[in-house]
Symmetry: C2
Subunit: 152 residues, 2 copies
DNA sequence: ATTTAATTGAGATTGAATCTCAATTAATGA
DNA sequence: TCATTAATTGAGATTCAATCTCAATTAAAT
């Protein structure tokens, strides 16, 4: 685990203490696994990863810990309309949006400051105080346009 | 039912015939109810409305009919992260996006051509062929900023 | 009127997410 | 180090939206 992520872990530890929550082995393990995970993983990715390891962690605990991590801003919850949630480690990553290929499932991240500013302006017009923006573009990625079966 | 919506119904009828599907009383009733419904309704809104009427329609049939209507483009399915889907009658309404107040649940629609064009440009850059865009802004509406309990 | 493939509805099933509660454990401080 | 206490865990039950199954019904075409 990198220096940066060790820092994150101690930030997590402090946040827990601040709210009188305990630093349990389960929470520690979930945190460090997440910090090393691929992007946009789902709960079962964690469940099965732990399942194969020495000490399993129950679904309930995983869900509960994720809620805390989302609250604290270490993890972002994303919904690509699959009927279940995905998550991404947020601590070392700035604002971005997603393109989702409906053929191969690949997810492309992009950042567009103009897009962001447009939205801010709209909020001003509506006198709306935003807490969260969702921008998603569904369609066919470059590969899948060429060969419709590429991703299968 | 307006002239416009009668036209829609016959378009629906034709679409059904084209695919060898039958025009049943249930489908007719669902269609006309939808065409008169408020925006962003959910399945249970329909279920209960039919429940109180003469002839009830089963959940399964409602879901199946909605799938067809979404396929044909008469209805748009929207997800505001509530754990269930909402729908809106699409036939007489052009492109728009949504602001969702997290306090009172109100949904505001807006249309911004620049935003749309920005997204188109991004798709070109990524060589991505879009089929669907989702833009949602969650936060506090004007009313709810002033009085946090306004919507309760 | 007959034929046939599509449709319906009741109820079972799935799958994600949440809840319950008894047993366990981290944290605090004497 | 040990006792106290409130937080945590895990197994399994529960919830809820959505989908599936299948026998009975029905729209539509001839
Ligand atoms: Mn991402
Ligand atoms: Mn709308
Ligand atoms: Zn693709
Ligand atoms: Zn509001």
């Amino acid at each position: 685990m990198s220096i940066m992520k060790d820092q994150d872990l101690s930030t997590f530890t402090e946040a827990l203490r601040r709210e009188n929550l305990k630093l349990t082995p389960q929470r520690k393990k979930i945190f460090s696994t997440i910090a090393e995970s691929d992007e946009h993983w789902e709960v079962d990715d964690l469940v099965y990863r732990f399942w194969e390891s020495e000490d399993r962690i129950s679904r309930a605990t995983i869900y509960r810990t994720l809620d805390i991590l989302v609250d604290y801003g270490f993890v972002r919850k994303v919904d690509f309309g699959e009927g279940r949630s995905r998550y991404e480690y947020a601590a070392d990553k700035k604002y971005h949006d997603h393109m989702i290929c409906e053929e191969c499932g690949e997810i492309f991240e992009f950042t567009d400051e103009n897009l962001r500013k447009h939205q801010e302006r709209l909020c001003e017009i509506f006198d709306f105080t935003p807490s969260k923006h969702v921008v998603q573009i569904y369609g066919l990625c470059s590969e899948c346009q060429a060969e419709p079966d590429a991703g299968k």
